[in-house]
């Protein structure tokens, strides 16, 4: 009987903090990029209000910065999309379906995978290292 090998990711970040709660999203993205720069692979599991980051209603840019009206400030969904594209299969973003539905945040950008929380344990088993960011 053939046995399907499960892909192992180097790092899984379970992002439980709300994006507006502090610097945690910046830290998660910086750590992800650092692992990608080393040739590693990273997946982010967005939990709770972290699911608001990848809504397709954001468009590509944030609202204009009146102190820098010509500046370009990508939206969080644009940042995630760029990292997925640049990662060429080494960066993934997962939206928790239960958390998304509870918040009415079900319109994710198409690059985001949707997963039931029932698959969280299996997702953790597919990573060599898992970190919870933002508290339980």
């Amino acid at each position: 009987m053939a046995v399907m090998e499960r892909r192992m990711w180097d790092l899984l970040l379970i992002l439980t903090a709300a994006p507006h709660s502090g610097d945690v999203v910046t830290s998660a993205l910086r750590l992800s990029q650092a692992v990608l720069d080393r040739g590693g692979s990273v997946r982010v599991w967005a939990c709770g209000y972290a699911n608001m980051m990848t809504q397709d209603t954001f468009g590509d840019t944030k609202l204009p910065n009146t102190r820098d009206p010509k500046g370009h400030y990508p939206s969080p969904s644009a940042v995630v999309q760029r990292m997925i594209a640049d990662g060429e299969g080494r960066f993934g973003w997962i939206a928790c379906t239960a958390c998304s539905e509870e918040r009415g945040a079900v319109h994710h950008v198409p690059q985001v995978r949707h997963r039931s929380p029932l698959r969280l344990a299996r997702t953790i088993a597919s990573a060599r290292q898992t970190l919870y960011l933002g508290g339980a």
Binding site: G22, D23, V24, S27, R30, A34, V35, R38, G40, Y132
Partner: protein, 123 residues
């Protein structure tokens, strides 16, 4: 956690493990931040390799030349790193930090967390 509960197990040939602990909370965030650093001390005193990275508001723990938490970690042999970006965001320079710490980028965390057998914890 104390040195007894943190005792090395029989899972590795030497019994010692490698920990990379990341503290993102400032001291005022509640007692858990200090407790997390005490866990690092207990693990180091039990013979494990322990590295602590202070990030976000956690970098403020390293301010000053005589921060007691940092002194305790250094005394236990813990390697203490301060995230350079978080320090810069809070207008902290290397001269305002404890002599027991060194500035490091997120590349150091990425390297540690992808080492074989390294146990990472983010608080």
């Amino acid at each position: 956690m104390d040195a007894r509960t943190a005792a090395p197990g029989a899972g590795t040939p030497t019994g010692a493990a490698s920990y990379f602990l990341i503290e993102s909370k400032g001291n005022w965030a509640g007692p858990n931040a200090g407790t997390f650093l005490l866990d690092a001390v207990a693990l180091a005193e039990a013979g494990h390799r322990v590295r602590v990275l202070l990030v976000e508001d956690g970098v403020l723990t390293a301010v000053g030349t005589d921060a007691p938490e940092i002194r305790r970690l250094a005394g236990a042999g813990v390697e203490i790193l301060v995230d350079d970006f978080s320090a810069a965001q809070r207008a902290l320079s290397a001269t305002t930090l404890s002599p027991h710490v060194r500035l490091a980028g997120m590349d150091v965390a990425a390297a540690a967390l992808t080492e074989d057998g390294c146990r990472g914890v983010w608080h």
